[in-house]
Symmetry: D3
Amino acid sequence: MSQNDYFYEYFNVTFPEEYVAHVEINRPEKLNAFIEKMWLNLSLIFTRLSTDPAVRTILLTGAGPRAFTAGLDVQAASQSGILAPSPTPLDPARKAFLSIAHIQEFQTCISAVERCAKPVIVVLHGISYGLAVDLSTAADIRLATKDTQFSVKEVDIGLAADIGTLTRLPKSVGSMSWIKDVTLSARVFGAEEAAAQGLVSGVYATKEEAIAAGLEKARLIASKSPVAVLGTKELVNWSRDRPTEDGLRYTAVWNSAMLQTDDIKDALMSGLKKTKPKFSKL
Amino acid sequence: MSQNDYFYEYFNVTFPEEYVAHVEINRPEKLNAFIEKMWLNLSLIFTRLSTDPAVRTILLTGAGPRAFTAGLDVQAASQSGILAPSPTPLDPARKAFLSIAHIQEFQTCISAVERCAKPVIVVLHGISYGLAVDLSTAADIRLATKDTQFSVKEVDIGLAADIGTLTRLPKSVGSMSWIKDVTLSARVFGAEEAAAQGLVSGVYATKEEAIAAGLEKARLIASKSPVAVLGTKELVNWSRDRPTEDGLRYTAVWNSAMLQTDDIKDALMSGLKKTKPKFSKL
Amino acid sequence: MSQNDYFYEYFNVTFPEEYVAHVEINRPEKLNAFIEKMWLNLSLIFTRLSTDPAVRTILLTGAGPRAFTAGLDVQAASQSGILAPSPTPLDPARKAFLSIAHIQEFQTCISAVERCAKPVIVVLHGISYGLAVDLSTAADIRLATKDTQFSVKEVDIGLAADIGTLTRLPKSVGSMSWIKDVTLSARVFGAEEAAAQGLVSGVYATKEEAIAAGLEKARLIASKSPVAVLGTKELVNWSRDRPTEDGLRYTAVWNSAMLQTDDIKDALMSGLKKTKPKFSKL
Amino acid sequence: MSQNDYFYEYFNVTFPEEYVAHVEINRPEKLNAFIEKMWLNLSLIFTRLSTDPAVRTILLTGAGPRAFTAGLDVQAASQSGILAPSPTPLDPARKAFLSIAHIQEFQTCISAVERCAKPVIVVLHGISYGLAVDLSTAADIRLATKDTQFSVKEVDIGLAADIGTLTRLPKSVGSMSWIKDVTLSARVFGAEEAAAQGLVSGVYATKEEAIAAGLEKARLIASKSPVAVLGTKELVNWSRDRPTEDGLRYTAVWNSAMLQTDDIKDALMSGLKKTKPKFSKL
Amino acid sequence: MSQNDYFYEYFNVTFPEEYVAHVEINRPEKLNAFIEKMWLNLSLIFTRLSTDPAVRTILLTGAGPRAFTAGLDVQAASQSGILAPSPTPLDPARKAFLSIAHIQEFQTCISAVERCAKPVIVVLHGISYGLAVDLSTAADIRLATKDTQFSVKEVDIGLAADIGTLTRLPKSVGSMSWIKDVTLSARVFGAEEAAAQGLVSGVYATKEEAIAAGLEKARLIASKSPVAVLGTKELVNWSRDRPTEDGLRYTAVWNSAMLQTDDIKDALMSGLKKTKPKFSKL
Amino acid sequence: MSQNDYFYEYFNVTFPEEYVAHVEINRPEKLNAFIEKMWLNLSLIFTRLSTDPAVRTILLTGAGPRAFTAGLDVQAASQSGILAPSPTPLDPARKAFLSIAHIQEFQTCISAVERCAKPVIVVLHGISYGLAVDLSTAADIRLATKDTQFSVKEVDIGLAADIGTLTRLPKSVGSMSWIKDVTLSARVFGAEEAAAQGLVSGVYATKEEAIAAGLEKARLIASKSPVAVLGTKELVNWSRDRPTEDGLRYTAVWNSAMLQTDDIKDALMSGLKKTKPKFSKL
């Protein structure tokens, strides 16, 4: 596929390097706040990149100088979206049925980033509230600019975050005391604190530097065997959620096919010849 | 309920702010060491606070300058408590039956802090041995004074900690090497080390400052929508222990009722009006 | 058993202190790279130490100045080992069957370190690639010299790490972003970074100092009640992989027998008498 | 304890044989329909029997000729109980909070039968609707008279059964098609069908015969080693809910204490001497 | 929606009764064997029925006198479908990646029957091989004609069934010995045997009688509160796969919203008035 | 390998058909009661058969007319085996450590039947007590003669069965009431009852007929694609113990390699040509 195939409203998708895709959230005039169309498109993009043989790693960023994303566009959601009153009178049970369906749809869209077979490197900057945390914890590697302002903002609008943050934060950083602190208080925290807690693994002075670093990391990973890289993402994610025995067993079964790749021979040969290996497409 | 309803021996329960309860372990002449009556009362207090509509966050501290708690009162336990020889001769299987029942009772008392629907902020200071770690890992947010001396002390009296520490430490901090180090060696470690490892998320110069900070945090959280706050505690705790899919699913079902709260409307309206929202009681 | 019973090719097993075993990987001329005989012997050694009543803690190190281990001996594996082409033509399914069996055998050998009932303290130094991470995450406490070079090297030879690293890293450190970074990029990282992320819990200037520190820690743990120490390892490992409720329940059942040890009485008595307790053999 | 200690309204508790307790639901004029006081008392009774050393097995039946129990007393529940409208106006989220607490309390009461360490044999007869199924699936052995009319009645009053039936039926019988059939249709089914599906394991012509058979079974089990019997209940229940590996491991740890019982020696000796063994109290 | 909205090739979708949909697999000239288009359409149909407020139960049958379905159309699959050789040469690892994606897509289509919120009653007749078992174990209630010939046919074409049968059979019937017998031998078994093992819960003389019975059951369930019915399907399915504690907890949270339905009041009122309740749409 | 390689005391291993092994427990003068040497040998045999390319199915029977096995040789176990008093005085905790190790060793031996990659068909006859049930529930298909006397005998010697029965019975048959009945009462039950409950899936008049039927079944399964057969055993066993989602996922990954077998082509071709396929060795 080529760049021309990736026209999705509110997103720029480019291919700055061989095997590297760059997805930019593009609604800067609204601080990249999300309306329904955006999470649907996000899901379409990542589902497609997941099987695009021309793509091996993905960089995810936000357009404009001020925000990665300010989160849910609450105003829009209150008028016609998921926070809007239902038009027809329904009893609370019937509202709940609709609500479960809506939340699961929304979760499934955000989870497209995690389901995507290729590693996703996210670069956060500026305002990174609410959905910014849901979204970035579904990614694989998190980088940030030093001016990033994070907040698990949902309690401030009267709800417990339900699109991924409360589920994935305990699987993304180690300190449960800190997780409870930031999720219960909705307080804003900066990039240094995020790095100290392990939420991000790199902090950069400017957005340009952060994107350059993200791109460099994406390029590096894209130069490796795609069989090895995709397996690594899959096996870490599976093991994270299951007992050690099940992690090891699934790993053995997974690799029973994957070790039959030509990439191993190619990699070993390149190692001997001191050349850079070229791996065939997936 | 009022303060008058909360008379429990060895504990002071006060209400320093609207919606904030302060539970103080009060046996300072024995370094707040626990005898059986204390864990029974602890459980009664937190079970009651859990459904008290006048309470939205809870601060847990230890009385006196020297210790949050020195842990189990080993002397008392050896004489008449859970470490005492059984009065009638029993075979080891029958002793084991009694023992399982006793340990589970004790665990259930400490777990009352985790089961409590409201967030619990614990401030540790001075000697914080054994049960101090069991107890504080069952709380949500851990703060400490810089003179706090932590120790998972149990191996020094010949037993593996069985009231919660060995189960909850791997779910509270990230470094397994450090967890094994402190649980196997029973060595004392300080507040800075605890903070570096993520066990506590704030260190303060004095007990007064730490309690003030804890109280400030409690007040902040108590000012938020209680529906949002209680859901956040519940959903983080559930997700911590289960695969991502089960975390997301439970979250969707939970919020199917909780999104029908008036708190969202109240919070959004206050946001527009720049006023402080008032949320009704639970 | 005595030292004489522990002759295993490529390993030195010594007993530098009462109750402390020291296992040294001994193929320094090949940077301690592993061939099949080595992981088989490793498993035999740790399985035996696990029930040797003369052993209470184990130190694991690598011989020579340059490497803890450079990982799999890729050259040997390509010629006659697990990366070698199969001699008879087999369809991919039949190769996969053999492969599952081989990977599980290899995993089982490395997991012998985790299954070993006694705590294992590993000291890493110099080159610590691939299998070094698989092996050390199966141990309990990780220490390193400041010149240690870690790398989850497997993607560089075209495969996802399958002997334990991808399963155990998410259970060993807190930052998922960092885990993905090092496992996807295969980049080398140093001891300070490993310590900051919680992978190791001590960094020392030289190999001598690191081994001295490891030995000191081993001696300290070996001086404690073995009933308490072995239970602590078991209960932390079980709880790490399971929900809190299952962790607490298993703990109660485990301790129903273990609290009937004489070690508690001995420990308490020594505490009163200010003497050092002596615990009987397991 | 003696019979005098077991006065609980709506229940008759008697001790027809050594080590056998008989709990009879006693509100026959209302077809033994349950009001809140009854499930609270049920829980108190089984919690107490669980640790009463004079009790080794328990028979559970319903008074009167017409019904084991007709289930929840819907009329009472609609007026002042869990189906009653809440007196103060609450938003649906706040109602949901109260509801979760109420359902969990009710579930916990019924689960007291399962948590009870001693085996519970239930004899159903006549009308056995709704709560009758919740209650009997929490018991260990189910017997019925041939006139028993079972029904998972809840959908007929507009709700999914939430006190245990929908959770425990899939763990009590094998045919999922049949489970869905009876839970979705609320149709009445008889004892022969229940026996064919494995829900009950004995069908008797009259209530007298059924109770006699239940009592005979209770007496038989009560004559066995209580260590063996209680362990058997515990280990089957644990294993039912967990993977085979976790079942085996827990079993090994459980028996590490329980095999140290004198009962084994007593049982073996009686076997040799052809006498009936007497086992000491728990 | 109306019948006009449900035109999907190879399927007839009709609405024989209020709230009842009838889905007929319609490729009788090929014994209703499945080609790719069919499972894609099956998924679209059930996904749509799941949220169609005019539908409360679904009947699933096969057109023609000879077969419910003969399973996968092996000939078509060998030529251009999932058993076809890949057109471009790929190493076994790359083939495996494609294969995982294909199998998961196929599984997801069949699982649409299980994910469908409304109960699905399947009526099997005649040849019911391979996919017939995958498909019917994803449904809720299974009925059959007495001439039904079942077979888990996959081993006869050289593969382990991978679209659901091997996963769902152990959750559908009780006898593991029987499951292994039929899945390992691929032998044909009849309706009486299926009924005796609990795989089907009704056997009828002719297809007409079976469909009439299925329709009667569908009508009965459709007459109940849809809130109660949908919750019952959801809670049984969730509990089947998880420990009792998690089943009970999820049930309490689910019902916290669902008990706020007007259906309970409507059902109770109808009960008093001896009228047939009418429940509003979902 | 040939028959000559399978000399193990107390067992006869023969190869009555191509690809079929017959393992006979051979201590008929003691009713095939097990001593330690026997379970060690059993494990060695099944571990070896698991990877023997000349074997595709295994028949397991007991020698002599009177018993499949009477279970543990209690007399031997009391004198020098696992029920014997420990020679050196140990505190109960230390005894418990040894006990856990012994039980796990014993469990691991019996589980060798389940771990064996090839399907195991067991034919029970005559006395089949205790270990007979542990052993046969670890097998895949259970057949019996009509004179078989089953008993979960362990409670009669004062212990809860700990080698597999209590864990695997709830995963082998559907009726929990029946499981509790037979495990708590230790009563003897016959083959018809075992068949009605689904424990066995075939009952035969004589031992000869039963063995002939078992052999016929073994031959039939051995004639199928070994890739398909081994996968079927693996995937049913994995799915039995895990949620549906994990069952489906593991299945997809497993088959990603296994679908690349030549067996599919061979099976399809034979189907077209109406010949009997020959599959190459594993």
